[in-house]
């Protein structure tokens, strides 16, 4: 043990003799470990951000979507069908057969051009019921949300998300209630605006306009079906039974006996989460893989340097063997050197990787988190690289015949 410490100290001395070479050898590992850590952290931050977004859409949420229209054996894309109606939504809410749900929100989504004065934008219009903000966790910044009487009397009113307010009325404008906008040739009065939910890209909840469902169906788009029915289950424990109850209830209503022919599908938040996680997980693995290649290159660099060192120190190795050093002693000496190289590189790379991922996540507005596992990974992997890529040069050194080594000039 004492001897090992001494060997480590000796190796440090040897390595500091040629600082330039040692530094360059370490650099490969620093870059390798640094990129592995920063890219994996970045991938994980992206994953976390998407998960947060989806969570913010509402918990315990089930979404019933129409399946594609069937013509013979060919079925269209999910969500494109017309099989769900307002009556389906009302029936789900009023039936006594479904006991595990709280709220039902029928929804119609369409993209449309919207104008206010001389400004115009293309955004998502959602025809909603008053249950929508409860289920989707939407809060009001100004004014009120759409109520039941708005829906019943098909009122031409609208509630705007903050991003739409910004694109139609300019940055910094907050209170726009009372003003009017035009959608599909109809004039609608703004009765409220929502609080930002900070979503981006995937289902951005700030870039929407809410209108009463009846207004959307009859006055704006002239259609009588729904894009989806959102249902809030009583708790996360009863999600599965709620899904089954709704499924069988709707099959019955649509007069279908075989679940495989269902003209709708039911997604839970966890389904969406799983899909999104899978995608970002694959992405993270890909990034990590690319970074791992640079780590491999760094390892080969270490091997190269160690082979040169062995050749340079042939006489020293020969002398040590002549004085009684066994193979094991020589192997240990050179392995310790290569492990010190890669380990130092690993620790430096880890620090740089954490700093880089901190800067990147801050500039990209992603949650910053360095997992403990990636730190252990960095330390473990760099040590392992030292052993793997140091082994061959160390073995080569120990196999030198003392006589050959002493003769070497």
């Amino acid at each position: 043990m004492n001897d090992l410490i001494e060997t480590i100290l000796e190796s440090f001395q040897t390595l500091t003799l040629n600082k330039m070479r040692t530094g360059l050898a370490i650099l490969g590992i620093v870059i390798g470990i640094g990129s592995v850590i920063s890219l994996i952290s970045l991938g994980q931050a992206g994953q976390k951000s998407i998960e947060n977004n989806i969570q913010s859409l509402g918990s315990n949420l089930l979404t019933v979507m129409p399946s594609g229209t069937r013509s013979g054996a060919v079925s269209g894309a999910m969500g494109g069908g017309e099989s769900l109606t307002l009556d389906d939504a009302k029936a789900i809410e009023s039936t006594t057969k479904i006991t595990t749900i709280n709220y039902v929100s029928p929804e119609l989504r369409r993209r449309s051009q919207v104008t206010a004065g001389r400004n115009n934008t293309n955004t998502q219009i959602i025809g909603v019921y008053p249950s929508y903000p409860i289920i989707r966790k939407i809060n009001m910044a100004n004014g009120v949300f759409i109520n039941q009487s708005d829906v019943n009397s098909m009122k031409k009113v609208a509630v705007l998300g903050p991003q739409v307010v910004e694109s139609l009325f300019g940055t910094g404008v907050t209170n726009v209630t009372g003003q009017t906008i035009r959608i599909a040739g109809q004039q609608l009065k703004i009765i409220g605006t929502t609080v930002s939910k900070g979503g981006s890209g995937f289902q951005n909840q700030d870039d929407v306009i809410y209108v009463p469902l009846s207004t959307a169906q009859k006055q704006l788009f002239g259609i009588n079906y729904l894009s989806s029915i959102a249902v809030e289950a009583k708790s996360s424990q009863v999600m599965e039974s709620a899904r089954n109850e709704i499924g069988y209830f709707l099959l019955d209503r649509h007069k279908l006996s075989d679940p495989t022919t269902a003209d709708f599908s039911i997604l839970s938040q966890s389904d969406i989460l799983d899909t999104a996680s899978q995608v970002t997980g694959t992405f993270t693995a890909l990034l990590g893989g690319i970074a791992a290649i640079s780590l491999l290159v760094g390892g080969i660099g270490i091997m190269n340097i160690m082979l040169v060192t062995v050749i340079e120190r042939t006489r020293e190795i020969g002398l040590r063997k002549a004085l009684g050093a066994k193979k094991k002693v020589i192997i240990t000496q050179f392995l310790v050197e290569s492990i010190i190289l890669t380990f130092t590189g690993g620790i430096l790379g880890m620090i740089i990787g954490v700093i880089v991922s901190f800067i990147l996540t801050k500039t990209m507005n992603l949650p910053f988190a360095v997992s403990l596992s990636s730190i252990f990974l960095a330390i473990g992997v760099s040590g392992a690289i030292g052993i793997i890529f140091g082994w061959y040069p160390a073995k080569k050194a120990s196999d030198l015949q003392p006589i050959e080594a002493l003769r070497y000039e």
Binding site: E316, L319, L323, L406
Partner: protein, 226 residues
């Protein structure tokens, strides 16, 4: 002490065989001071490598201290070298950038001698070769003669059965060479067995017995009367 029986060493380069040592036999007793002398290419260096177990003979037997050492594994040979043979090389072969003290300590590390004892013992031997005020000097801060004296201290540290010196004065000034020869004489008087390889008759005559080698064979084996 040393018994060499019909030792040959043949090098094969491609299909060409070259005989470096040919059927050599001799004995060296404890306490002897022997010079192995011959011109370059005579096979004396090969013989020295075999005696030092740095190389294995192609055929024949070599007994050191009663132990047959001609067919040892690498690690076994390393152990025998560590315990029974003290090497003194023409080029000194000290570790560079390492202090005289650490150089003398080196063989004790390989013998697993307790750490506490090492420095004490090394200092004693450095004092014996007259370098008590140079112990913390690194090898490149020492003169040739001083380096060779460090090497002598190192060769003695494990109290070996024989001292093998390969052209010990080949790389140092003649005044310092005389000093080295005096140390050898003193060591021999204390009972150490010394085998010295040289091509210089002046150096060889310091020994008590000279084995003349030519073309891989013993030409003459003479006792020197003083």
């Amino acid at each position: 002490m040393i018994k060499v029986k019909n030792i040959s060493k043949i090098y094969k380069i491609g299909t060409v065989e070259s005989v470096a040592v040919s059927d050599v036999s001799f004995e060296i007793k404890k306490g002897e001071y022997v010079a192995i002398m011959g011109p370059s290419g005579s096979g004396k260096s090969t013989l020295m490598h075999i005696l030092g177990i740095l190389d294995q003979p192609t055929s024949g037997d070599y007994f050191l201290d009663g132990q047959k050492v001609s067919q040892l594994t690498e690690d076994e040979a390393a152990e025998v070298r560590n315990h029974k043979i003290g090497f003194i090389f023409q080029a000194f072969n000290l570790l560079p950038r390492t202090t005289a003290l650490q150089n003398v300590i080196l063989p004790m590390k390989y013998a697993d001698i307790p750490k506490e004892e090492r420095a004490e013992k090394a200092k004693k031997y450095l004092k014996m070769v007259g370098l008590e005020d140079r112990m913390e000097h690194t090898s490149n801060q020492l003169s040739g003669g001083q380096q060779q004296r460090v090497a002598i201290a190192r060769s003695l540290i494990m109290n070996p059965a024989i001292l093998l010196a390969d052209e010990p004065t080949g790389n140092i000034a003649s005044a310092q060479a005389d000093e080295i020869m005096k140390i050898f004489e003193k060591l021999n008087n204390q009972g150490h067995t010394i085998i010295m390889i040289t091509h210089e008759a002046d150096i060889a005559k310091h020994a008590k017995r000279i084995i003349h080698i030519r073309d891989g064979k013993i030409e003459k084996d003479e006792k020197i009367r003083k």
